[in-house]
Subunit: 546 residues, 2 copies
């Protein structure tokens, strides 16, 4: 890696925060350390550094200039890691395409991001074939080929990645960049509406990496160190795999990229490569915990951050009982993503698994440089008593400045100088955040905020209830009142009164506000869900007047 | 701690890098952790945070405004730590006065920095008495009182620190600062010339802290973690005690401030407070190693960065044999200061002490975000072969932008976009820097650079030589040639030829260039030294035509 020597005056000597410095630190700390792509490729950091130069040379030859957008459609691979560095280091923007979106949504993001080049795994050529005629700005396609996928396609590529690298110059004259240069972009999708683009600068990614380094270092459990072996199990196309590949590279740890997330492949790599540090969503952890294979292997060295949605306490307990060091990470696409981690405090490490699971399944404490508040509708802080609910609003040096070309949603995201997460939470006296609901799902009644999730959890305690969803419906006196939509178990004997009595019992014990006892209860045959299986409260509100 | 809520537009949402975020992270991680001032004061991080608010309130009442310079004259104390935060967080500049300078030099720095307020330990009142009439800008003095020092003084103070804090408001509305706001300033002194002021911004101190966190974290030896206990043994007035108090606060570790460095006090605190992490100069380490007391205590948990000057291998070996985890740190006042640390690589940790001492006494490998080169006179990189010498030039996001109000020296410091350290070094194939000399002391002869320090070391191998200094003298043919000034041991039989033969022998073995064999050897009775005992080569050059 070379860098242009720029003449600078003493007034401009502050070095910019750029992604190249992360690579530089890793390579000089651990040049011979390994980077592995499933069973397909092994290389050293030193080799990777040269390949990053070659990739930049190849992209440059393919016409990529500073300010261009280069998109990737791939499973988690060494190639993706190389793109994490080479593309931003060239001054171009890396667009990580979410290959799980529908073809129409993928098309929307390609056109909206104005992609100039797409690096595409052969497996995703059919997806591009389907939308090819409507792709507006892409001039060049580059093939990523693992031997899987169709033999023919309407997509003309300029060559295959490995071949292009082999032919490219092994040195590249990377520019010295302004730290506010845009480095990455990707799209976040809600249950409805068009995907929204978020974007991060070199400065933001570097600061996120160093704050994450600080938060994950030390002598407690769940820390990430040089002798760890890292394997992501949240995809690289989603918030840069939580930014952990950048951290892993900074540290110079062994990195394992698993390709597509197939349970048997993941488990095999966990064992054969001696993986010790990962991050995944609860669904994947649940799948692993439920498999027979997991009982035959030793996972007692494995540390896993759980994110994407809440880590249920029983799952935390089950993982701990297997020796897995699970804890929660919290953030969102808009926040780069990490805001909090639920490491135990030192005095909690001697607690039994059950008690530890209570803390590990909390949302966590803010990492350095994050300022996090829970506030009421008037932006006043609510008490940190573990009970008072407020919206989570944050500041940090690595939050998206808005949504790409979307002023309206951007203004709603940033209000009064704080990024509004749309999450409702409480903060314990120990300083742990616990997310209780989404703000659009909370029921504001009698001056109090009732968590629909809390209320659903209580109703589900009834042995005859199979499913439950709670929404708020307008009420002249109280503002809103909860409506519980309940699916009975087959042949179960459940009455409205029984449910009300159950919740009233919890209200007497102080577990939920007395305003939470629902007078409106409606039995239904099924609950509307989104395409990914989440409760679709938008539909329920439309149907039931919420 | 409160912060003004500023309305921001989405285009200005990047949070600035400010010192307050370090304090915030430490307090929320470890609110009940201890901070200790010798046997005089114990308090928690939470209490410190309130005292920092009170200090800011008190300073504000004493007239301190944003942009003012507030100076401190104190031993290492909890007060100093509070000043490290409160003064920059107010938007003022902390001037850490070097209380070891002569009164005339102290006066110069006070006037040159345009100090508005001085917080002064009663012990240093006589120093101020002596220069009082010539102090130009100071409007207010505040007394720091540990009961030591004269009862009367001509200096009128507005009150004593603890009393002022007790009377001050416990909350302060700290401003949201631009990250490039100047935070600290202090003066560096060479063997001659006026002190030169260096200065650092909030951004620079924050980035230095996070890079240092990355470099000192992990699972190898010599790391700094939450369960460590920190005590500085390089003064807080000198390059902010290497910035480690900021790192210690970020981590939330127990901090011990020893006051004046008295060997018996240091040893007592090491033992009673279970100190595990320090930094000191070789002189202090030598003093400890030579004391009888050190043999009676267990120092096997103590990690110590040695800096200020090179860690001699025999000292490294002696410390290792006592179980002390010593290693080298390198930097200078101009660099905030840390540039490199000589941690062992993982595979070296099983080596015996003798072999480890070789590595630990090297200058070290660059910490993240530092780009470090060794270059020839034309700024070309010299090979990293452990032999080729070049000047050490650096870039990093935390280097002083120049010397305060001193354009000429600033231009000499920053040339071609690189900070010139004035040090000569080699880099090993492993990437470890080893400083071999100061550039002004290197002898450029026959196209090669001969280290005067290397040559002195070889001459000192002669059993009859007590002291030796080598300087370069002009030579029409070779540019320069070495002149060895030699002090014989009493009654020793040493000849010029014997010294030449000794060096020639090393040259044959390839240990020094054959150009290093000195034809000029002069026996002298003693060598000129500076007030702090360093060889004064400026005087030698003047006397011997160098």
């Amino acid at each position: 890696m070379t860098a242009r020597v720029i003449e600078r005056t003493p007034s401009a000597v502050d070095q910019p925060l750029v992604i190249g410095s992360i690579l530089q630190a890793g390579v000089r700390t651990a040049g011979e350390q390994e980077i592995i792509y499933a069973d397909k490729k092994r290389m050293s950091y030193r080799e990777m550094a040269e390949r990053i130069n070659r990739l930049a040379s190849a992209l440059n030859r393919a016409g990529v200039k500073e300010g261009d957008t280069v998109a990737v459609m791939d499973w988690d691979s060494h190639r993706y890691l190389e793109c994490f560095f080479a593309i931003p280091m060239m001054g171009a923007v890396l667009h990580t395409i979410n290959i799980r979106l529908s073809p129409e949504q993928v098309l929307y993001t390609i056109n909206h991001a104005k992609d100039d080049v797409i690096l595409v795994n052969r497996e995703f050529l059919p997806l591009l074939d389907a939308i090819k005629d409507r792709i507006e700005t892409v001039k060049t396609f580059i093939l990523l080929d693992d031997g899987e996928g169709p033999e023919s396609s309407s997509i003309q590529t300029v060559g295959e990645y490995e071949q292009l690298l082999a032919e490219a110059a092994p040195e590249y004259d990377f520019p010295l960049l302004d730290e506010n240069t845009r480095a990455t972009t990707f799209y976040t999708t809600g249950t409805t509406g068009l995907p929204k683009g978020v974007y991060f600068s070199h400065r933001q990614l570097v600061l996120h990496t160093f704050a994450l380094r600080s938060a994950t270092s030390g002598d407690g459990h769940g820390r990430f160190n040089q002798t760890d072996v890292y394997m992501p199990i949240t995809p690289m196309f989603h918030v840069h795999a939580w930014g952990v590949p950048y951290l892993a590279t900074l540290l110079g740890v062994k990195q394992v990229y698993p390709g597509r997330y197939l349970p048997e492949v993941l488990l095999k790599l966990l064992v054969t490569e001696k993986v010790t540090f990962s991050h995944c969503v609860p669904t994947i952890m649940q799948m692993l915990l439920a498999s027979d294979a997991v009982k035959k292997v030793d996972l007692s060295k494995w540390k896993v951050i759980i994110g994407g949605s809440a880590l249920p306490k029983p799952m935390a307990k089950a993982a701990l009982d297997l020796g897995i060091d699970v804890f929660t990470g919290y953030g969102m696409s808009e926040t780069c993503p990490v805001l909090t981690l639920s490491h135990l405090q030192p005095d909690m490490e001697s607690w039994d698994n059950d008690r530890q699971a209570d803390v590990r399944s909390l949302t966590g404490r803010p990492v350095p440089m994050v300022t996090l508040r829970i506030v009421d509708d008037n932006m006043n802080d609510v008490p940190h008593d573990g009970k008072s609910q407020g919206e989570v609003v944050v500041r940090a040096p690595w939050l998206t400045q808005g949504y790409l070309n979307d002023a309206e949603n951007s203004e709603n995201l940033w209000r009064g100088g704080w990024l509004h997460t749309g999450d409702i939470g409480v903060i314990t006296e120990d300083g742990y955040l616990k997310i209780t609901d989404r703000i659009k799902d909370v029921i504001k009644t009698g001056g109090e905020w009732i968590s629909s999730l809390d209320l659903e959890g209580l109703v589900l305690q009834h042995p005859g209830v199979a499913e439950c969803a709670v929404i708020g419906i307008p009420d002249a006196k109280w503002g809103e009142r909860p409506l519980a939509l309940v699916v009975k178990k087959p042949d179960a004997d459940v009455t409205e009164d029984a449910i009300r009595e159950l919740v009233a019992g919890y209200a007497e014990k102080g577990i939920i506000s007395r305003y939470g006892v629902p007078e409106h209860i409606t039995f239904v045959d099924s609950l509307p869900r989104t395409s990914v299986g989440k409760l679709d409260k938008k539909v329920m509100r439309a149907e039931h007047g919420g």
